[in-house]
Symmetry: C2
Subunit: 206 residues, 2 copies
């Protein structure tokens, strides 16, 4: 056995792992963490139940691997796309657009994502905290808000973290609305992100 086939093996292993992971996204999104069974996930990924345990320690670690993968992706995508942008308003617009695009092509994951958002008090007796990445994401948002505050684009009489929370809430709410109405309707991202930016910046007054 040479080094080449060794690394191919590893790659294969990663692929199968990824298979299981993406099957699990669908199952967790559909049923929620508790009601999703390891058999559901195995079946969906076309493996036997036990096989899943060759790739993941247990159900919880599978779940958190999934969270980690997706949230990292969200963070890295939005960071990249906003990286070179000078104008903060533009930055925020891009942030909105990219988040919509991300969740548009990860609709199952979105369900999981918002369910995590509401668990601020249930972190009790969980082995692993999801908080690490979740709060990295929130920190990133708060950073942009802070920047906007420095440049007098956003009012400075409230903490950036709070504004960031509100920003995220509006974004999620709009996405829920889109998913409820036409699940396939993530077209017009330009329009939709314009709408979100407008409401966020100017409020709803006539």
């Amino acid at each position: 056995m040479n080094t080449y086939s060794l690394s191919r093996k590893k790659r294969d292993k990663q692929l199968r792992r990824a298979d299981i992971l993406s099957a699990s996204v669908h199952v967790f999104a559909q049923k929620g963490y508790e009601k999703a069974t390891m058999q559901d996930i195995a079946r969906k990924a076309q493996y036997a139940t036990g096989t899943v345990y060759l790739y993941f320690k247990d159900k919880e670690s599978l779940y958190f691997s999934l969270l980690e993968e997706k949230i990292s992706k969200l963070i890295s995508t939005t960071k990249e796309k906003t990286a070179g942008v000078k104008d903060v308003r533009e930055k925020i617009k891009i942030l909105i657009y990219e988040s919509l695009a991300f969740f548009g092509s990860n609709q199952d994951f979105f369900q999981i994502f918002i369910s995590e958002t509401s668990k601020f008090r249930w972190v009790i007796d969980r082995k692993i905290a999801p908080s690490a990445l979740m709060s990295e994401h929130m920190n990133y948002l708060a950073g942009i808000i802070r920047e906007a505050q420095r440049e007098k684009v956003i009012r400075s009489n409230f903490k950036a973290e709070h504004i960031a929370d509100i920003f995220a809430a509006i974004l999620s709410t709009v996405i829920v609305g889109l998913l409820k109405e036409k699940p396939g309707c993530f077209e017009n991202l330009k329009n939709i992100s314009g709408f979100i930016f407008d409401i966020f910046m100017n409020g709803v007054k006539a």
Copy 2:
């Protein structure tokens, strides 16, 4: 046994039922629906496990009774308080204030409430839908927004339902923030509701 004691019995029964219900709020809030056990709830209410089943058919119906009770209360309170008010802006301010006050004195329930909010896709294989009351509440909000739109207080280029969703999201977000920082800090409701009204109406721009 006369009719008097019959009705007292009924009243007693209601009281014990209410006992169990309010114990369950705490347990469900702490652990979430799935991880909360009937024994937890029974212990908290100082009854034996079986006793709970004398008052509620099963876990799910206990849970939904709780939702029903609390949400009805929220709806009726806010409806009453805004009933005679002419000025829509004032109405919205009162709505915010009363919602804060309600969740301030029902903090455990708030956790349950927002967790329900994020379950829009998991209604699958639930015996009872919580939706009825939840959507009554949202309809009520949408009604007020619609009124504000008619009176040119809120812009009319978006559906009242969507604006209502955003309204609710901002409100919830602020409450989460309050609970995270100082759990006992539901003072200054006037200030806080002013803040929410301001952000909601005027956005975050400088």
